[in-house]
């Protein structure tokens, strides 16, 4: 067991170094850091001084090592545009993205699970069928189109909700939150739905499939035979058994939510790290791109690791399977 955990940990660390290597290569070789920092009129002496100061003459592995050490200290260099430290830019924008991602993830899990249970219980009902077929359209709709259509309906036609920005924010320490003001909450509604809709349909379909599978099993029939109420059977017995795969998928989808936040943030001009990244791609701002890659890469590796370890802890079948493979 311990061996598996250590192997899994080693794998994650290897991937992290790989991600760091890719962002290092980007940082070092895509675009020219010296030209970008000095401009056209610099003298040769100035250039040489800067090259020396940046350590660009050192052997490659030393430069890579230095890059990793600086990244661990949260130093990603300066943005080419505006010359601000990238770390400050990220810190300033991270709360916006995290709030959006968390709210959509919770929304997706709650509504997705509830709809999944409903469509499984009322399998042939009209409403359940309607929900199932509209979920297919939901899967085919690109995220940005969902956002644009929501803006059209709720901001332009009905005028209920704001179409861009975060509304008023309140500063709590270094964290600027939009969750404490009315305009902040109102601004959050459309982006959160846009970002969470795909994950919601995914979780709904998964819960439905798992519920249908479990409702067929003997222990459910026995529970009914014992005279338990429908509610206890559905929520106490059946739902509990569907949760392992749901938690796994939800955990893995957390990474996807962060990636798709780029799209949602652009549609709603939400001032988060995703919008920062897409602007960086547009203006070829390499330090910002490389820092974003490093950040998101780390996040993904950590999420995957946690999900895998949780899975090992929860489901004994997987644990035994892995052990057997190792012993043979």
């Amino acid at each position: 067991m311990l061996l598996i955990i250590f192997r899994r940990l080693g794998q994650s660390i290897f991937v992290l170094f790989l991600v760091a290597f890719v962002s290092f290569m980007m940082f070092r070789y895509v675009g020219n850091p010296v030209d970008n920092l000095l401009g056209q009129e610099a003298t040769v002496e100035q250039r040489d001084a800067l090259i020396e100061a940046l350590g660009l003459n050192d052997p490659l592995h030393e430069q890579y090592f230095g890059f990793v050490v600086r990244a661990l200290q949260f130093d990603f260099g300066n943005s080419y545009r505006g010359a601000l430290p990238v770390a400050d830019m990220i810190l300033e924008r991270l709360p916006a993205t995290l709030e959006l991602a968390l709210v959509s993830a919770i929304l997706a899990m709650l509504v997705g699970t509830l709809l999944g249970i409903y469509t499984a219980i009322r399998r042939d009902g009209f409403l359940a069928n309607f929900i199932m077929s509209s979920s297919l359209i939901g899967v085919s709709l690109p995220t940005f189109l969902i956002g644009v259509l929501l803006i059209w309906l709720f901001s332009v036609e009905l005028g209920w909700l704001p179409s861009f920005g975060r509304g008023e924010t309140v500063q709590v320490g270094f964290w600027s939150t939009g969750l404490l003001t009315v305009s902040g909450l109102k601004s959050l509604v459309l982006p959160a739905i846009t970002l969470g809709l795909y994950q919601m349909t995914l979780i709904m379909r998964l819960v439905r499939a798992e519920m249908l599978e479990i409702l067929r099993q003997d222990f459910i029939r026995f529970a009914r035979a014992r005279g338990l109420s429908e509610r206890v059977v559905y929520f106490g017995h059946a739902l509990k058994n569907t949760l392992v795969p749901v938690i796994t998928v939800a955990g893995l989808q957390l990474g996807a939510i962060v990636a798709f936040a780029i799209i949602t943030e652009t549609v709603f001009q939400w001032p988060g790290v995703g919008l920062m990244f897409i602007n960086a791609v547009f203006f070829v701002d390499i330090p910002v791109m490389s820092a974003y890659l490093l950040l998101v890469g780390t996040l993904f590796v950590v999420i995957n690791l946690i999900v895998d370890l949780l899975y090992l802890a929860i489901d004994p079948r997987i644990r035994d399977g892995q052990l057997k493979r190792q012993n043979s």
């Binding site: 991937v15 790989l18 980007m26 895509v30 675009g31 297919l136 359209i137 899967v139 085919s140 709709l141 690109p142 995220t143 940005f144 189109l145 644009v148 259509l149 803006i151 059209w152 332009v156 179409s163 990474g255 996807a256 990636a259 798709f260 780029i262 799209i263 652009t266 549609v267 990244f277 897409i278 960086a280 791609v281 547009f282 070829v284 390499i286 791109m289 890659l293 998101v296 890469g297 993904f300 590796v301 995957n304």
Partner: protein, 308 residues
Amino acid sequence: MSGEKSLMSRFGESDFFYSFKRSPVTLVSFAVVLLLILLAVFADLVAPTNPFDVGSLNLMNGFTPPMQPNAFTGEVFFLGTDDQGRDLLSAIIFGLRVSLFVGLTAVAFAMLLGVSLGLWAGYRGGWVDSLIMRAADIQVTFPSILIAMLIFGIARGLLPPSMRDELAISVLIISIGLSEWVPFARTVRGTTLVEKEKEYVQAARLIGLGSGQIMLRHILPNVLSPVLVIATITLALAIIAEATLSFLGVGAPPTEPSLGTLIRIGQDFLFSGEWWILIFPAATLLALALSVNLLGDWLRDTLNPRLK
């Protein structure tokens, strides 16, 4: 399967065609996809005007609502016009051409890459296999749209600014293709592992054929049927990925607007009430993505129920 029957009549009697005929949803999606492909291919003939011919544009025609005569010139446009007086129907048909072209070539590229790597990994085994499959494992932990964006960004950084717009379409194809190769490689590797143990492969090896020839001439034809299913599903993903990148402004250049670019332009006019500039390109994209998705689902269920 008697030899006298023609290929057409054999196809007409097959289970494949039977299940196709019996599913109205599939028939409709096939018709939609076919119609859209034909529109895109014959864009020059079908489109009422050439949206790229700046000389033919009349600014007076700007913001004409669909099916209504323009207030100044009296001209009628079926789907209306955009801010520069460009006929929206023509813009959509030409945008469709860009979207489909990028989608299809990106899938072809992903397929070529994925199938070759999968075949090689499965047949050679050993370190080649481990290396390719580990790379695939790492890549799938990242969403493909993110990978496509990163590759697009890096390519923009490597290219001199003057060539960025010119090569944008090729860069787009390569970045989407590189982000979608994994499912092809995994499936082909799996089937190759099974196929290479079979007697016909051993026989081919016995008569002294080289491994390249065995892989291409003997194993490849036997591992292709799931590839078709994956290609269709990937096509929907690729079309959406292209539209997304173009919508974000990091995809197709302004000189070659795709459906995603048109939607981005349309979003600007949403607040001033010119809804048609947004809604018609959006509806076209939705019809395309949904039909390809439905076709892919049906193909998967019919050809290879195991993939579900």
